[in-house]
């Protein structure tokens, strides 16, 4: 029992005993404010013709919003390293899914996806 507990403690980077972090309320309100501003920003940017950068701007804003939600609302900033590893693995697998699929499709040459 003790060995198991100390193992889990070590995996968590010693972040174990009674350290449920209470995030100050002003952090939640600040994050909420930034999320709203970014939403306004992404809507206004979508009406400007930025060429290929319309997609880039929209995705950069979306990823920023995601990171804010994950780090603060979901408390990951204050979570154990084990949690970080699990989340990191999830995004790594998502990257594999997207990149390897695209690596196939975008290298098929002209007329790809127009079968038969």
């Amino acid at each position: 029992m003790t060995d198991h507990a100390s193992l889990v403690g070590a995996l968590n980077g010693g972040h174990m005993q009674g350290e449920k972090h209470l995030v100050p309320l002003r952090v939640y309100f600040t994050v909420f404010g930034i999320l709203m501003v970014l939403t306004g920003l992404t809507v206004s940017a979508s009406f400007m013709d930025l060429g290929p950068f319309n997609t880039v701007v929209a995705l950069v804003i979306a990823v920023t919003k995601m990171l804010l939600v994950v780090l603060y609302f979901m408390h990951v900033r204050y979570s154990s390293r084990l949690t970080w590893a699990v989340i990191g693995a999830g995004f790594f697998w998502l990257a594999l899914l997207l990149l390897m699929t695209l690596a196939d499709y975008v290298t098929r040459g002209v007329g790809w996806l127009h079968y038969g």
């Binding site: 029992m1 003790t2 198991h4 507990a5 100390s6 889990v8 403690g9 968590n12 174990m16 005993q17 009674g18 350290e19 449920k20 209470l22 995030v23 309320l25 939640y28 309100f29 909420f32 999320l35 709203m36 939403t39 992404t42 809507v43 979508s46 009406f47 013709d49 930025l50 319309n54 997609t55 929209a58 995705l59 804003i61 979306a62 919003k65 995601m66 939600v69 994950v70 603060y72 609302f73 979901m74 408390h75 979570s79 154990s80 084990l82 949690t83 699990v86 989340i87 693995a89 999830g90 697998w93 998502l94 899914l97 997207l98 699929t101 695209l102 499709y105 975008v106 790809w112 996806l113």
Partner: protein, 222 residues
């Protein structure tokens, strides 16, 4: 860690040393589930990406038929519901029963507003003959593949809405538990874990909104 069983909390399961360890295991388990959810929605996002690269005109034309005002309002509503959810978790961490119930109910209410607006959007799509397979009439450069855009739109947003409905169900249970005073400073794991789920659903929408509604809007309408 030893001696944790000396004064055992009623919520402590026998296979954990103490409530902190139980909390850690529960949040980790929820994150593992959310990783499978990331890949579940990731498959749909991949399909969207592949077809958008293949048929850019069809997707741009179709995207112009989505309502940015309703979609944007829903984004704000959902971000607001994430804030009230975070507040509910905060109240649970402090063991404040009434505040917790108020914020859980507020989160559910905002979730219902989102679903209501989504229902209005869906009914507009039926009126405008933009429902693939059943009722699809489209004037554009590439109508067949615009239909593909709307298939992805309906599958992705309805799957997201289904997650919202499940979330509201979970929160109904939580509200009853909170009302009965089940959560304290020492034990509020279900509130925290349900919060993770709710914020995840918010994040899915944070990507759906720009990808479906926004990124093709700068071009001319065809």
């Amino acid at each position: 860690m030893s001696g944790a069983h000396a004064s055992q909390h009623p919520a402590l399961q026998h296979h954990f040393d103490n409530l902190d360890q139980q909390f850690e295991a529960s949040t980790l388990g929820m994150w593992l589930f959310l990783v499978t959810e990331i890949l579940f929605f990731g498959g749909l996002f991949t399909a969207y990406l592949v077809y958008r690269i293949a048929y850019p005109e069809a997707f741009a034309d179709a995207s112009h038929h989505l309502n940015i005002v309703l979609g944007g309002t829903n984004t704000a509503v959902l971000i607001g519901s994430s804030l009230t959810m975070a507040m509910a978790v905060y109240a649970a961490q402090l063991g404040r029963r009434n505040t917790q119930v108020i914020f859980l109910v507020a989160t559910m209410a905002l979730g219902l507003v989102f679903l209501g607006i989504k229902a209005v959007e869906y009914s507009h799509k039926f009126e405008e003959h933009l429902v693939p397979g059943i009722n699809f009439v489209f004037e554009g450069r590439d109508p067949i593949h615009s239909q593909l855009f709307f298939s992805l739109y309906f599958v992705m947003t309805s799957l997201h809405a289904l997650h919202m409905i499940v979330g509201i169900g979970i929160m109904t249970v939580l509200t009853v538990m909170a009302w009965r005073g089940r959560f304290t400073k020492a034990y509020h794991t279900p509130v925290e874990v349900s919060g993770l789920y709710w914020h995840f659903v918010d994040i899915v929408w944070i990507f759906l909104f720009p990808l479906l509604y926004l990124i093709d809007r700068h071009g001319p309408v065809h």
